[in-house]
Structure formats: C-alpha cells, structure tokens
C-alpha cells in the first residue's frame, strides 16, 4: 500500500466520522430547534398516555346461552406529587377497606416498576362499582386521585371453571417476550381464555393528552394524530351444552372424577366435567389471589383439570380395542369361542367372574370376560406372522395409537396430556431386551398395566366406535366472532387402522352389555333406558393407591349416535355401580331433556364417595 493511499484512507475514515456525526447534529437541530411539535413542554406540560382497554370477547354455549360476560370495576390511580394530606380513616371507610390496607398500598406504590411521583400509578386495583360511585362524589376532596375503568370477567352460570379458565395480570416473563403486553394488563392464564387469548383480548388503544403541572388535561396531543382506537375482543361460540354441563357437575358433587361427552359426528365437546370443581367467579376481582391459594392447597386438587390431565388405566373398556385389533389381524373370528372357568390360568393368571361358558366375541364383550381377551391379546402379540414378540407389540401399538391413544388429541385447551401406550423399548428397559413375553405383559389384555389415557381420550375412543372407525379431533369452540370457520384440523377425519365392518360385532357386544335380558350376563344393565338404545362398556381401573376407579363409556342411540360419553369416578369400585348410572342419566338428559328415573338420580346425588382414598377394597 502506497503512502499516499494510506493518507487518503485516513482522510476517508475521518470524513465518514465527521459526516455521520454531522447528520446527527442536523437531525438534533431539526427536532430541538425547528420542529414545533415538541415545544409544548416549554410551558412545563407533559404528555400522558392513557391506555384504552378493550372489552374482552364474550363466551356462549352451543345454544346461544351466555356463559361469560364482563363487568366494570375501577382501578384507583394516584399522582403522588399532587396528593394533599388527608384523613386516612375517612379515606379507608370511603373505599371500604382498612387503614392498614391504605398504608400498605402507599408503601408498595413506590416499589412498582417505573415508579414516578409525577405519573398516574395504580394504587388500588379492581374496586367494585358501588364503592367507586360513592368515592367519585368525594373525589374533589382528594386531589391527585382518579378512577380508571377496567373490565373483568363475570360468570353468568357458575359452571365449567376448568374449561373456561381464568384471566389474570400478565407476569414479567410475558411482558419481556411479547411487546403487546404491559404491566397491569390482563391475559388469559388457563382454559379457553388462554387458548383463544388473541381473539378474546381485542386490541388496546391509546389516547395521548397534554397535561399541565397540576395534572389538568389541556387537550389531546397533536389533535389526536398519534392516538389509536381500542378494538373489542371477538366473541366465542362454544360447543358446550350449558344445561348438560351443569347437570353433570351436579351429579359429580362429592365425587372425584370426570365426565366427557362428545358429539361423535362433529367432534364437538358437549360437556366436560371435572370434579371437584370450583366456582369460576372465585378467580375474579380483589380476592382472586387469596382464593387461588386456597384452591391450590386443597388436598382434592380442585384446580387440576382431570378431563384432560388425569391419566387412568382404561380398564375393561379397553377390551373393545383388543377385540377390534384381533378381528383386523384375523387371529380371532366373531364366532371364535373360548371357555372360561373362573380365569386365565397360564402364568401368574388373570381371574374372571362367574358367567356361562364357552362364549363368542360379542358375548365376551357383553360379559366382560377376562379369559377371552387374554387369549385374544396373546394371539395378537405371538402371531407367528410377525416373527417376534417385539414385532407383535409394535403391530398392536400401531393399531392402538390410531384410536388417538399415546399422543395428545389436540383439543383447543392448554396443558392436555397424551397418555401412555407402552412400546418395545419401554419393556426392554423395564425388564431387559428379550426378557419379556406376551405373558409378562398380559395385563394389557384387560386395559391395565402400563397403559393410560385421559377421560377425553376415552370419550374420543367411544366416539370412534360410534362412528365405526373414525374420529374428528374434539374441540370446544365452534365459531369465533363473525367468522364461521375454525381451525381446519377440527374438520379432518382421523381413520383408525381397523376396517369399518368389524365395529358391528363390538357394538353388538356393547349393546348386549346394557340391553340384554335379565340374567343374560350383561354387565351394565343399570344403564339401560326404555326408549333409547345405549351401547356401553363398564370398566374397573385398578389403582395402587386405594379402591379401584369406576369407569364406563357409552354412546347412544345405537343406530344414529348423537352422544358419546366417558365417565370416571375415582375410588368408587365397579364401573356398573357409579359410572354407568351417571352416564345413563347424562345421555337421557341430553337426548330427551328430562329424567325418567328420579330414584336413580337421587341415588347418585346423595352418594358421597370422597374420603375413600387410601382404603383398600
């Protein structure tokens, strides 16, 4: 590089530095001296940004009944610098709080992020309307204070707390990661409020005012050129039948468990009951934090959404799946008979109850024979066509997963769990490679063992059977705002790996389980209804921590299914005792909107099945 070139470059770099800094100086001169937009401040005025909070979208049930609306509350704001001394007791009385609370509010005021004695800061949150009306009349005596309207949730029916979810203030983490939210904003924290937060929240607006030193508004800044209008949130129409939901919650009082009802043709969730539940209005307003703590520490876990998060073994209800897989794989025929003399005796053995023998596949489902399905299951796994137990289990697993097991179904609620379908690698780890056979894992034959699913997956399974081989992803929202379309994934058909013809034999068995003659051996005759043909299957899900869970799933009517339902009652014993009558009442309620068996209803309503945990059967 020549010396001249070097000197040149020194000057080029110096030139760039000077030029860039000169540009900055020119721009500074422009905004500080020429542009008059910023001169308002010469009169010591300041700008005030007043957020316009949009109204959150409403939530309706499938028949247009309002579930969630909004009510107005007020935040009390204060510009600390303008406050004149006042009588604390009088002030507290006016606001219906204690003097300690007033003092506490003032001390924590200064710890707020971005605190300034010249800015309007929130002193007290969510004061009820009547208190504020009283306070507003006296507002002139308290310079520096003002009331800002906010809207919070109001629950028209005190149901479906888990599904609806709740709204609360955004946390720091969300604020840092999403520039829409600011301190003090509300956000959907669980349930539909969370899934559909974007649609429900609308869009905030802002008004910018010029304010003088005495906090008096002088008018909009730049004639409102920089203002933006708030956009209301969109309404949600859900698939829930509010009356059915309410009835389900009533039936489940004093019981632990879940009911999920689905319309099999559309995948629309009709009811989703989790028990114990809580009144959703507990999580609104000033008492929210305290109530939440109380619910959280409750030993019955009322906040836990059992319908989509509790994992139970499906129990005997799962026999229908094994029957279908057996039929599809050709290792069992509808008329194949096995005899049962009180149990399956190979290996550790699996017991059975007393029933006639030998029986065919349909009868085996009707009577829920363990022996029959041990034969079926072992024949699937040990089918010589696959060559090994491992391959057998893989084939079986692939079929099971096609029923929506072992993975999340993708319902429009947060925190759904996917359940477990054990794989070869699981057993290789659990025992050792080659250290297990169809006999070791025989409990899968009757839906026990390492298999688990959520009540939602169970309802989806029976919905699949009702449809004779397919399901639509269960969902809760039918339409958003004015648009009638929802996410495409909810209208996609998921076919199982089982041919449609085989379903009829299984459905026949489920029909007989409910509707056979007295003494015919049906396990769920208690669920039968005179005018509606219900097809169902009981189950008893073994529970290492206490009495077995009572399980039942069913759909109805048989020839034109309109409802598919699963019921779990924890620690309640046989499926027929509790779960079956509850399902039957729900079906009747939904299809006929009346109850013809008050004695059955009473029997359920009066039962208290809490405090049964830990006791052995």
């Amino acid at each position: 590089m020549s010396l001249k070139l070097q000197t040149d470059r020194h000057f080029v770099v110096s030139g760039i530095v000077v030029l860039v800094l000169l540009t900055i100086v020119i721009k500074l001169f422009y905004i500080q001296v020429i542009d008059s937009r910023y001169k308002f401040s010469a009169q010591n005025n300041v700008l005030r940004y007043v957020t316009q909070y949009p109204v959150r979208g409403l939530i309706y049930d499938r028949n247009g009944k309002l579930l969630v609306s909004n009510k107005v509350v007020y935040d009390l704001l204060v510009v600390k610098r303008l406050v004149k001394s006042f009588d604390t007791t009088e002030f507290a009385n006016l606001l219906d709080i204690s003097t300690d609370q007033v003092r506490e509010a003032f001390t924590s005021l200064k710890k707020q992020r971005g605190y300034s004695s010249r800015k309007a800061m929130v002193l007290l949150k969510q004061l009820p309307v009547d208190v504020c009306n009283r306070f507003r009349e006296q507002l002139f005596r308290y310079p520096g204070f003002e009331l800002q309207p906010r809207t919070v949730r109001k629950y028209e029916r005190h149901i479906a707390a888990h599904m609806l979810g709740y709204v609360g203030e955004v946390d720091e983490n969300t604020i840092n990661n999403n520039s829409y939210y600011q301190l003090g904003d509300y956000i959907g924290i669980s349930g539909l409020e969370k899934t559909y937060e974007k649609e429900l929240r609308g869009k905030k607006g802002v008004n910018i005012y010029m304010v003088d030193v005495h906090n008096r508004i002088k008018g909009p800044y730049e004639n409102g050129k920089f203002d933006s209008v708030a956009v209301e949130g969109k309404n949600l129409e859900t698939t829930i039948d509010a009356d059915l939901q309410e009835y389900g919650e009533k039936l489940m009082v004093n019981k632990i468990g879940s009911i999920v009802a689905i319309d099999p043709k559309t995948g629309e969730v009709l009811a989703m009951v989790t028990s114990p539940s809580y009144d959703p209005s507990l999580l609104v307003g000033r008492e929210r934090a305290q109530n939440f703590m109380q619910l959280q520490t409750d030993s019955l876990k009322p906040i836990f959404n059992r319908s989509i998060m509790a994992l139970y073994p499906p129990g005997s209800t799962f026999k229908v799946v094994n029957a279908l897989i057996g039929l599809q794989e050709g290792i069992v025929h509808p008329y194949t008979q096995y005899s049962c003399a009180g149990g399956y005796t190979v290996g550790r053995g699996v017991g059975c109850h007393i029933h006639r023998s030998p029986i065919n596949l349909t009868e085996a489902i009707e009577m829920s024979c363990n022996t029959y399905f041990c034969h079926v299951f072992r024949n699937i796994i040990d089918n010589p066509e696959y060559g090994s137990v491992e391959e057998g289990l893989n084939v079986w697993r692939k079929h099971v997963e096609s029923f929506g097991y072992g993975h999340k179904l993708g319902i429009d609620l947060p925190n759904e769990l996917g359940g477990i379908v054990p794989s070869t690698s699981f057993y290789d780890k659990y025992f050792r490679k080659g250290g297990w056979s169809s006999l070791t894992i025989i409990s899968l034959a009757i839906g026990q063992g390492e298999l688990s699913a959520t009540p939602l997956q169970m309802a989806n399974l029976v919905s699949t059977i009702a449809n004779r081989g397919y399901y639509l992803t269960p969902h809760i929202v039918k339409s958003i705002g004015d648009s009638l379309s929802i996410d495409e994934k909810f209208s996609q058909m998921h076919r199982t790996t089982i041919d449609s013809v085989w379903y009829n034999y299984v459905i026949e068995g489920m029909d007989m389980a409910v509707n056979c003659e007295p003494g015919g051996g049906g396990t769920a005759r208690i669920a039968a209804l005179p005018n509606i043909r219900i097809c169902g299957k009981t189950g008893t899900s073994q529970n290492p921590h206490g009495k077995d869970h009572s399980v039942f799933f069913a759909f109805a009517p048989k020839d034109d299914p309109k409802i598919a339902i699963s019921v779990y009652v924890e620690n309640a014993g046989f499926g027929a005792t509790w779960a079956a009558p509850i399902a039957s009442l729900m079906i009747e309620k939904y299809l006929t909107d009346s109850i013809s068996r008050p004695y059955l209803e009473n029997y359920i309503l009066q039962a208290n099945l809490l405090n049964r945990r830990g006791k052995t059967k």
Partner: protein, 474 residues
C-alpha cells in the same frame, strides 16, 4: 524515575483531558436522570449515581494501572486475552444470567459483568496482532478468512447470547479492514447491501428487482458496454417474463407473483455471465455478479427478517421504517425519547430541570437513553458540545493511530476508533429516531461499570502504546 517523566511527557494529554471531561459530564447526567427530591446526597450508594461514582473511581484506577504497565504485554498476550474472553463468552452462554431476554451477564459475587464489553478489546488486540505480522497483507482470500474469523467469531457467540446490539458492534471493524487495504469499492458495496436490505423491507421485492435491473443496465451502458447487447439481454429477460406470466394465467401454473420478475432476471444474469466469460468482458462479468448478489440479498431479506431477527427487533425496524406504528409498544420509547430531546429546545431546560427524562417517562434513561437527559436539560447547545467532544476525541485517536510506527499499534488504534464511533453514532442515533433501537451504551455516559471500564481500558491501552512508540524501537 526517568521512565516516569518520559511517560508523562509522551502521554497525549488532549485525549486524557477529553476523556475526563466526558466521564464527568456523563456522571452529571446520570445524577440528573435518577435525581429526585427524596434522595439528594451524591454519595448515596443505593442510588445509581452513587454506584457510578464507584465505577468511575475504579475506571481511573484501571487507567493508571495501564499507564504504568509494560506496553509489550498487550501485543505479547493478545492471543491469550482473546482465548480467555472466548472462553468467558461461552461460559456466559451456559451459566449466564438472563437480563431483558439476552443471556449476556455473568454474576461474580455481587457484581454482574458483561463479558461482551471486554470482548471488544480482546478482539481488536488479537486482530491487530494477526494483521500486524510483518509479512501479513490483506490481499489473499486466506488473509481475509483469517482476519475475518478473528474479528467476527466473538460476535457469533454474542449473537447466540441473544444480544444483537453488542454483536453488531463488531461489524464496525470493517473500517479497520478498509484502512489496511480492503478495496474501497468493497466498502461501498457493503454500504450498498445494508441500504438494499432496508429498501427491501420498505418496498416490494418486485419494485426492487426492476430498479436493480435498470440500474445495472445504466451502469453497463455508461461504463462502455454496447447498447445493442444490452437490448438483446433485456429482450431475453422480458421474453421469459412474458412466457411465465401468460403461462401462469393460462395453464394456472402456481408461480408466486414475485417469481415472474425474479426468474427472468436470474436467467438474464446467468446469460450475461456466460457471455462475459466467453467474451472475456470483465465489465459485463462484474455487473452481472453485482446484480446476482443484490438479487440474492433482497430475496433473503424477508427470510432473515422473519427467521433470524426476533420479535423485538422486527418491531423496532418496522416502527422506524414507518411500516407499523405501535405507540404503546416499542414506539413509545422512541416517541418519549424524541419528545424529551425535542422539548429541550435550543438552550435546554437547565440542569436538573428536565420533566420528561426524570420521573420515568423515558425508559432505560440512565443506561441506553442517557442522551435524552443531555438533550432535554442542556438543549441543542449541550448536545452539540457533547457530539463535538466525541468528534474531537475520535479524530484525535485516529491521528494517534496514524502516527504509530508499529503496525500492531496502528491497527489497534483503528479498532478503538471503529468501536467507539459505532457506539456513539448508533446510541445517539436511536434516541432521535435515526436508527432502530439496539441496546448499546453511550461510551462514558451510560450507567454501568462494564461499559465504562472497557472503554477506559481501550483508550488507555492506546495511549500507553502511543507514549511508548519511541521506546519500542530502542
């Protein structure tokens, strides 16, 4: 004794004087930014201005230590420093603390330091060492790769920490490359690409394509290509375009609209390249290559924007370019900052008299937005003086760099200037809405120890090398 007096007489006192002036002005502004009636003692160490006094004390101590150190260690241990800082950056990436969504702080006892600040010094030392070897020349592909790696590898790790501001700072080292022989047209091309990136975000890709094509045509014709050849090329391009357009209309080919422009242009460029190689025409070759790179860049802009930048940065850029307006979100900060500076007027409101900067209307007002306080309280006059001081300092440091006899010292000096210049221009630029907000501090002004110490070290190492420039020969 003799050595010491030599140090004092050789020391560039102008720089030292400006440095002290800037640090003190900076502290006065932090005091003003945090000032409120409730805390007034300047030695209140629970307040930021109190803490900053401690940081300043340490900074002066560091400056003195550097001045009395042996100048040879900076060249001798350059690589060691570099490797140590790379390790520190990785450690931060793994064990660091997340502040404002970036993982760039490491906790040492009750101190939190930001290794990225010190990575700047280590990087320019190592770069100076590599490029200062007496047989090193910036003229081969290999030399660019080696020097480029040294300069930009730390930026890559810092980018992984999600601290885009600090990573971008390293881009300023292109000035060092320019001084050491990077062809001028490459620097211009680099600037052109940055501009193209911005234009592509504002205008539609198709518009950019057509403009580029016309531009290349004009350049081609002016530089001496044949009009006839260009017309023929344009014919090919238009022909392919027409075929694609009617094809998509008649046979309903699923071609995105942009591609109806892009595909013919690419075909044209390839045709031009082939012809250029065949006829050994360098001008055609270079203009076609230029076009190819430009098209590629403007095509990848959307991708980079959507996938590489995170939501914060997208918003900031959108807001700056006027594509999206969000006065409650990021726009709020810049709006407030401009209002604060603008309200200062010509003479300012007077020290401690600001209303916008105090009382928390401006966010981050003692760190990244410290210049708001300058603008509001000291007015245009004050802002001008601060910028003038920075200008004098930068030009002075450039002069110092140029008078070095050792290449190592000169390159190091240019590194210091590049980095400081980038910080000053971007930081002040963002407070007045000239550039997007990327969180980097204003040297000597912003609150915080790491930044102050690193700039102090940077400047005083250069002063030490400078005072030693005769001694090194003897």
């Amino acid at each position: 004794m003799e050595r010491r007096s030599k140090l004092l007489s050789n020391l560039d006192w102008t720089t030292v004087f400006i440095y002290i002036l800037l640090v003190l002005m900076g502290w006065l502004n932090i005091y003003a930014a945090v000032y409120s009636d409730e805390h007034s003692s300047i030695f209140d160490f629970s307040q930021r201005y109190g803490k900053q006094l401690i940081w300043i004390g340490f900074a002066f101590l560091l400056a003195i230590i550097v001045l009395f150190s042996d100048a040879r260690i900076y060249s001798g241990f350059a690589y060691v420093f570099y490797i140590l800082i790379i390790l520190a950056l990785f450690a931060t990436l793994m064990f660091g603390k997340v502040v404002n969504a970036s993982k760039s702080w490491i906790q040492v006892g009750s101190f939190a330091i930001q290794p990225a600040e010190f990575a700047k010094i280590a990087t320019i030392l190592a770069l100076a060492k590599v490029m200062g070897r007496y047989n090193f020349k910036l003229n081969s592909f290999k030399s660019y790769v080696v020097a480029g790696f040294i300069a930009f590898f730390p930026a890559l790790i810092i980018l992984m920490q999600n601290d885009m501001g600090s990573a971008l700072v390293f881009g300023s080292l292109i000035i060092v490359f320019f001084r050491e022989g990077l062809p001028g047209w490459l620097l211009a091309f680099f600037a052109f690409l940055v501009m193209l990136f911005i234009f592509t975000l504002v205008f539609s890709t198709s518009a950019i394509m057509v403009t580029l094509l016309l531009l290349a045509g004009i350049v081609f014709v002016v530089i001496g290509g044949k009009l006839k050849a260009y017309a023929r090329l344009l014919g090919i391009v238009l022909g392919v375009g027409v075929v694609l357009y009617f094809g998509s209309q008649i046979f309903s080919w699923k071609i995105p609209f942009n591609y109806i422009f892009i595909i013919p242009i690419l075909v044209g460029i390839v045709a031009a390249l082939i012809k250029a190689i065949a006829s050994r025409s360098r001008i055609v070759f270079y203009s076609a290559l230029f076009l190819l790179v430009s098209v590629g860049l403007s095509l990848s802009t959307d991708y980079v924007f959507e996938h590489v930048l995170d939501v914060h940065h997208q918003k900031r850029i959108n807001d700056l370019l006027g594509i999206e307006s969000d006065p409650l979100g990021w726009g709020y900060n810049v709006n407030q900052s401009k209002i604060a500076i603008g309200s200062g007027g010509f003479l300012g409101k007077g020290y401690l008299q600001g209303t916008q900067t105090k009382f928390n209307f401006v966010p981050e007002q003692s760190t990244d937005f410290i210049f708001c306080t300058v603008g509001e309280e000291w007015g245009f006059i004050g802002s001008f003086v601060v910028i003038l001081l920075f200008a004098i300092l930068l030009l002075r440091l450039l002069k110092i760099a140029e008078r070095q006899r050792e290449t190592f010292s000169r390159i190091y000096g240019y590194g210091v200037v590049s980095i400081m210049f980038f910080h000053v221009a971007i930081n002040i630029g963002m407070t007045i809405g000239l550039v997007p907000v990327i969180g980097i501090p204003l040297p000597f002004f912003s609150y915080g120890g790491s930044s102050l110490w690193s700039f102090t070290l940077m400047v005083f190492i250069l002063l030490k090398l400078d005072s030693d420039r005769y001694g090194a020969l003897g």
